[in-house]
Symmetry: C2
């Protein structure tokens, strides 16, 4: 009887595009796997813990607190290389990805490039109503929020001051709710003693939601609870409300058949997302179908139709085999998908396979503010302080999986005890002058008021 | 006997320009002083602990770790307002400062706007050899340092790879020494396990110093000790070496009569400083004299000639009344000057005065690397581990004076125990691609390779 020698089989080449939750957990799952080489490609040199970006945007944490260098996370995975770069194309015939002037061959490809904001066709709103997906987004939001208070302190016209102290958050999902709660905490607590000419408690915070309730992924009674808590914190919650126009610091709302205008200098976007451009590349190259948000329709094993060696996971994927609805674009889905794909690849190399992917939903949660959150575990629903403690514990648990993130807990403890937010730097334009700043957010020239060379911060 | 009523005397208006060590300590000294109103004006909304900027540049700390919001630091000083803005002019006749379209009247003015880099007339070197004065500078340095390793990982040409792994630091004062030591620690320890195609221990780090020894502010034996330690850490120290040209990633050095060329992608500037532009404004408006570096020559009480109500302190001032030499541009000088001015203002309001300012020099110190520093207290000189512990204690002591900065100590402890540096984000250009990056530092178009709107990060 002959036994085939395994020694001479060349290593199986796995290429992962994207170092978010999906890509990173695939790589972790394949760490030091026998006869597998992994290449993880990302445009950024760090993994970002996106669920906490709103804390960077509101000055509670620094960007580095919620980031971990990909190389550092994967340094013990000796079969894994990290490449900094942007994949522009995929050649599914020759099995290569194209990155700059290099091509990288793959046996198995995982595409996990995530999602970006969607302005539902109103792309010019991007400048006036920034979203929250990247570190730069968060720092830009932070700049706008704190600059608005600074400008209000110096504004003598009551109407303009009112607009400077009005914050409109578009979108009542977890990010919108968490931003609204955090800005309320800032305005009504943290900054209370810091200004001399304005009373920050006069700040108006509007949370706008198109649907009939905020946090629609949670049980209705939790949405109600969250709305009540936000109102207690001073946030005006408007459901069944759509934004029809944003222009010259005026947000036009539609509620039923009624239109309203709100003068607001700071408008933050937490509404729609769309798939990253890699979905289109895949569609062109493989003929795979995409949904309305541009997400790639995947098979029950997370591959794409006709290509059993190409997986699409995370926010980029539309997986609808569980209950007909696509799985939500949240970190736990991406993480479980990454783990599944890693296991499946290892199984396949041993000539085996796995049953279809199945997402285990452990629940949903959202932070509202100090001592208040909502948690929906299905079998258990928490609100108020117990939910808040639960939220903290869960996030600390996930942060500890990376790097040194215990320090974040200490930062939180400090923030909680002192009600301070020390990470509230306005950075980027060194020669920042309020003369510029006041008009800075009202139109797209805010990046051009800087007469200095823009620095790549 | 009549007693003059103090009640009707209008408050004495103090305006401070600049929230660095000098300005902040003046403001702190005047906190809640009787019948004194203080206005602190700064372009930034935060005080920056500049001596630790090199740790941000090398990924050990985040920018927020070494910054404190000015409003937060001064929130309990109810007689003090903080204004975000840039002073463009001073009208010494009508006693007003001009900020945008506003004027702010003063009875006493303190100018403490600090210093910026000097390229000794070679201003085009700024783009290829960035300095380290602001948060943006540090983040740009960090971007260049970590991008160089990333690009080296992907570079196949040995000569280009060598240039990518060559770091030239110009200037052998504390900043240059600390940068060189920190990059050595990065290359030879922290990053050792992180790459697959390069051996980071092949990194070349050159520290160039014009004078005949590094750290000339310290005793000669400590300079010698620092040089020996740096060499043990793998840094090439070149004294009596001047840079004559920087072009196309080639640094031309002059050592005696000999010229040498070094191919290096990353060149960091830690050499000269010059006074900020406010010195020229003052000279024009008051006729005060400036020195060669543009610093304002001040009187023994830190006022300027002919204006006993205008003080200039910190890096902007040339105070030469102690031993004929101007005091160095370091934080302790600025701090003591700020405290002196605050005390003098309060004395004057009671009809008294103070003897001339006298700087108490507690010593000089510089960090070299893990377990190694040099400390010169005059009566006591420390090197090696004891100096390193001393350096840490001193910096922790000063950081605790602000805000929450105990966390920095924990971050250091963590970095020390794990040898990790988790704050090594390459940020700013979201669509970062190494194709661009490799040429990014070689000429001034590095900021234009970004086809995205520059974001004010």
């Amino acid at each position: 009887m002959k036994v085939a020698s395994l020694e001479n089989i060349p290593p199986h080449q796995v290429v992962i595009i994207g170092g978010g939750f999906g890509g990173l957990y695939t790589a972790k799952g394949l760490a030091n796997a026998h006869n597998v080489n992994v290449t993880l490609i990302d445009k950024r040199n760090f993994h970002l813990f996106q669920p906490l970006l709103y804390q960077v945007a509101t000055g509670a944490l620094s960007a580095t607190d919620i980031s971990a260098p990909l190389r550092s996370v994967l340094s013990k995975s000796k079969n894994t290389q990290v490449l900094l770069g942007e994949v522009k194309d995929i050649d599914s015939a020759t099995q290569q990805v194209v990155m700059g002037d290099k091509t990288i061959p793959y046996d198995t490809l995982i595409v996990a490039t995530g999602a970006k904001h969607s302005y539902f066709g109103k792309d010019d709103w991007q400048e006036v109503a920034p979203g929250l997906k990247t570190v730069e987004d968060a720092i830009e939001m932070r700049r706008r929020i704190f600059t608005a208070f600074e400008a209000a302190e110096q504004e003598t016209d009551p109407e303009k001051r009112r607009a400077l102290l009005t914050f409109v958050i578009v979108g009542g999902g977890p990010t919108g709710v968490e931003l609204a709660g955090a800005i309320a905490e800032l305005a009504y607590k943290t900054l209370q003693e810091d200004f001399r000419h304005i009373d920050t408690s006069e700040t108006r915070i509007l949370l706008l939601q198109g649907a009939d309730r905020i946090l629609p992924a949670l049980a209705p009674e939790l949405s109600q609870e969250a709305e009540t808590s936000l109102k207690q914190f001073g946030v005006e919650v408007h459901t069944k409300t759509r934004v029809t126009n944003i222009e010259n610091d005026i947000v036009t709302l539609k509620q039923g058949d009624e239109f309203k205008e709100i003068a607001a200098k700071t408008i933050l976007w937490a509404a729609g997302v769309q798939a990253s451009p890699m979905a289109k590349v895949l569609a062109q190259r493989t003929g795979v179908e995409c949904d309305r948000s541009g997400r790639v329709i995947v098979e029950p094993d997370l591959t794409i139709k006709g290509y059993e060696n190409i997986f699409v996971i995370g926010d980029l994927a539309n997986f609808s085999h569980q209950n007909g609805q696509p799985l939500p674009g949240v970190a736990p889905v991406a993480k479980q998908e990454g783990e599944y794909v890693a296991t499946l690849i290892k199984k396949r190399l041993r000539g085996k396979t796995l049953p279809a992917f199945k997402y285990t939903d452990y629940g949903n949660l959202a932070m509202i503010g100090q001592n208040s959150a909502v948690v929906d575990l299905g079998f258990l629903k928490l609100t108020g302080f117990s939910a808040w403690v639960f939220w903290l514990l869960i996030h600390i648990y996930f942060l500890i999986e990376f790097d040194h993130k215990l320090l974040v807990m200490m930062q939180w403890a400090w923030n909680y005890l002192t009600r301070k937010r020390s990470a509230r730097l306005i950075t980027g334009e060194e020669s920042l002058a309020l003369a510029n700043v006041e008009d800075a957010n009202s139109n797209s020239n805010y990046t051009q008021t800087n007469n200095r060379q823009p620095i790549n911060v």
